[in-house]
Assembly symmetry: C2
Homo-oligomer: 359 residues x 2
C-alpha cells in the first residue's frame, strides 16, 4: 500500500515474511550505514534477534536498543536514556544511519521521536507488531512521548521511509490487544467505508481466530483508508480529524480510568457508541447505525457498555485534550454508515447524556 | 528580507524598533491564541518586560518562561523543565499558541526545540539579540539541545513564521560576543559575496562603534546571503554545507578548548585561516586571500593566531562531527574571493599542517 505524501511518500508492506525481508529493504536505504533497532523489553525478547539477523543477513551493521515496556515509560526521561546509548555506539551514528522501530504503539512512538530528533532527524522505518500499530500508528508519521500533563504532548511529525508489517507477529499478541486494534478497524470502516463494515461482520470469526489471510486483508484495507485520510491532510488541520471518531469521549474514558485500566481500542469503541448517540439526538442518523455498530463490536469481543463512568471527569479531560482549540471540543459524528463530519457545537448536556447511556 | 522556502517562507525584519512592533506582527499569527516567550535569565532580565509589554499592547495573552543562561544549560533536562512549565500554564496552551524565542543562540535553539516538539509542533518566531544569532541562527530553522556526546545532537528543523531583529539589542552585547558574530559575517562574504568583503573592510570602524545604520545594513546583507543558501538547500544535503566554511577545524578548536574558553566566531575565524591555507597548498587560491582575510579579521578585533592548539585532539573531534558521514570529514575550501567548494579528499597531514601554522 502506498502512502502518498509527495516527496515524503512511502510504502507499507503487509505480508507473512516482512521481518525476513527487512534486511533487503533497508539495505537500499542505508547504503553502508548503521541501523539501530529501538524496541521495548517485551518485543525485543520476542522479535529482536529476528530483526537483527535479518538486517545482518542484508549486510548491515545493526544494533538493538530496548527500554522497559509500558506506556508509563513513554517519557522524555526514557528518550534521554536512549539518546545516551545511541550516541555511545561505535562506530558512531551519522546522518546516514537508519532507525528501525520494532513493536507496538509505545516503541513506535518512542523510536520515531528519537529518530525525529537525533542529529535533527534520521531516516526511520516502522515494524509494527500489534494490530493497533499496524492499522493506526503505521501511517501518519506521528511520533512522541507522554508528559505528566497528557499523552503525546511532546513529539514531532516525522514520516517513516517504509513500514513492514509481518502478520506472524500477531500470533503472540494477547486477545485484549488484538481487540483494541479491531476497534480502530471498525472506526476506519465507520468513517470511510461501509463495505468494510460488512466485510468485518462476515469475517469476524476468522479474524478472531487470527487466520493470516484475513488479518493481512484487514490490515491492508485499513492502511489504505488511513493513508487516504493522511494524504489529504498530513499535518492534521482538516479531514484528518475524522480519524478522531470515537476518540473525543474515548480519550476521556481512557484518561479517567487511568492508562492501562482499559485499552485504547476499548475506550474508542465506547466513544464511538456515545458519538452515535449524540448524532441520533441531533437527527443525523437513526438508531439502527448504533445498533449495527454495537453488534459488530460485540461480535469482535469488545464491550459496548461500561458501568461507573464519571461524566464530570471525562468532560473536564476532554476540554484539556491537545486537539481542543481555544477551549472548544470538536466532535466527529456519523452522518451515514461509512461517513462522518465535524461539529463544533456539541454542548455539555448532550455529551453527559451519551456518557450516562453507556452505563 | 524574505526567506524563500515555499509554503514555509517567512520574513526577517531588521530595524530599530522590531521589539516594539512584535505585538502587531504576532497578533496576525496568533488570532486569539496564547503567546509564550522563552528566554534565558540574562536576556529575560534585559528585554523580557519589553517583549511582554509589546505583546500585551497587541492584545495578546503573553507569558515568559526563562531558564539559566549559558551553553551548559542547553540540555534535554532544561527542555524538560520548560515543558513542565509550558504545560502547567493557564489557560492551557493549544495548537494555536505561538512561541517567541528571545535571545541569542542558546535561547533560540532551546525555544525552537520546545516549539518544534510541544504538541508535535507549535508556530514560533525568533527575536535574536546577538549579532551571531541575527546573521546565523535567524535563518535556517535549526533548533536543538546539546548532549554530553556533542553539541546540537538532539533537535529538529522547524522553520519560524517570522524573525524580528531589533538592532538596539546589540547595544548591550559585550565586545567579545559582537566579534564572534562578525566572524560569521566575514564567513558569509568569503563564501558568496566578495563585494561584502570590501564593504566590511571599509566599515570596520563604524561596525565596531555599533553605529545602528551600519549594523542594520550588515545584518540585512548577511541574512540575504544565508537565506539564499538555505533556500537552495533547506535540509542541509548540498550547498548548505558551504556555510560550514571555517567550521570543520573551528568546531574542533572550540571543542578542544572547552566550550566557553573561546567564542564560536573566534574559533571559526581561526578555522577560516586554516582552510585558506589548505586551499593554498592544493593550488586553489594564492596566499593573498589568506592575507586579506587575516587583515580583515584583525581590523574587526578577531585573533588570527592561537598558541597551544592540540592537532591530535582537534583531528579526532573533527572525525566525530555530526556532519561527518561514514567517518569522512568534508571540507569547505575557498576557490576564489567570495567562492567556495566542497572537498572530500583532504588528508590528515594537510589538516595538521594548517593547524600547526595557526600557532
Amino acid at each position: 500500500v502506498k502512502v502518498e505524501l509527495g516527496e515524503r511518500s512511502y510504502d507499507v508492506v503487509v505480508g507473512e515474511d516482512a521481518l525476513d525481508r527487512l534486511g533487503d529493504h533497508i539495505r537500499q536505504l542505508a547504503a553502508g550505514g548503521r541501523v539501530v533497532v529501538i524496541s521495548d523489553s517485551t518485543v525485543a525478547s520476542l522479535y529482536g534477534e529476528h530483526a537483527l539477523s535479518s538486517l545482518r543477513a542484508g549486510g548491515l551493521d545493526a544494533s538493538l536498543l530496548s527500554f522497559p515496556a509500558g506506556e508509563p515509560n513513554k517519557t522524555l526521561a526514557t528518550a534521554s536514556s536512549l539518546f545516551d546509548r545511541l550516541f555511545a555506539l561505535h562506530p558512531p551514528i551519522d546522518r546516514d544511519s537508519v532507525v528501525v522501530a520494532l513493536g507496538g504503539g509505545v516503541p513506535g512512538d518512542m523510536a520515531g521521536f528519537v529518530a525525529a530528533t537525533a542529529l535533527r532527524g534520521l531516516r526511520w522505518v516502522q515494524c509494527p507488531t500489534t494490530l493497533l500499530a499496524d492499522v493506526d500508528a503505521s501511517v501518519g508519521g506521528k511520533t512522541g512521548v507522554d508528559h505528566a500533563a497528557g499523552k503525546n504532548l511532546i513529539g514531532a511529525f516525522h514520516q517513516p521511509r517504509g513500514v513492514f508489517i509481518d502478520v506472524r507477529t500477531l500470533r503472540t499478541l494477547d486477545d485484549v490487544q488484538l481487540r483494541s486494534g479491531l476497534a480502530e478497524c471498525v472506526k476506519h470502516a465507520m468513517i470511510r467505508d461501509k463495505s468494510l463494515l460488512a466485510w468485518i461482520d462476515e469475517r469476524a470469526g476468522k479474524i478472531s481466530e487470527r487466520e493470516a489471510e484475513s488479518l493481512a486483508e484487514l490490515i491492508a484495507r485499513n492502511v489504505e483508508i488511513k493513508a487516504s485520510v493522511v494524504a489529504a491532510d498530513e499535518r492534521e488541520s482538516g479531514v484528518r480529524a475524522h480519524l478522531n471518531f470515537g476518540h473525543t469521549i474515548g480519550h476521556g474514558i481512557e484518561a479517567q480510568a487511568g492508562y492501562g485500566a482499559i485499552t485504547h481500542g476499548q475506550a474508542v469503541a465506547l466513544g464511538m457508541i456515545a458519538a452515535c448517540r449524540i448524532a441520533e439526538r441531533r437527527g443525523l442518523v437513526d438508531v439502527s447505525l448504533r445498533e449495527r455498530l454495537a453488534s459488530l463490536l460485540d461480535a469482535l469481543g469488545l464491550d459496548t457498555r461500561r458501568e461507573g463512568l464519571d461524566a464530570d471527569a471525562i468532560w473536564r479531560i476532554m476540554q484539556h485534550d491537545k486537539k481542543a482549540r481555544a477551549g472548544k471540543v470538536r466532535f466527529v459524528l456519523p452522518t451515514a454508515p461509512g461517513e462522518v463530519d465535524l461539529f463544533d457545537d456539541v454542548e455539555e448536556p448532550a455529551v453527559r447524556e451519551a456518557i450516562a447511556n453507556l452505563g
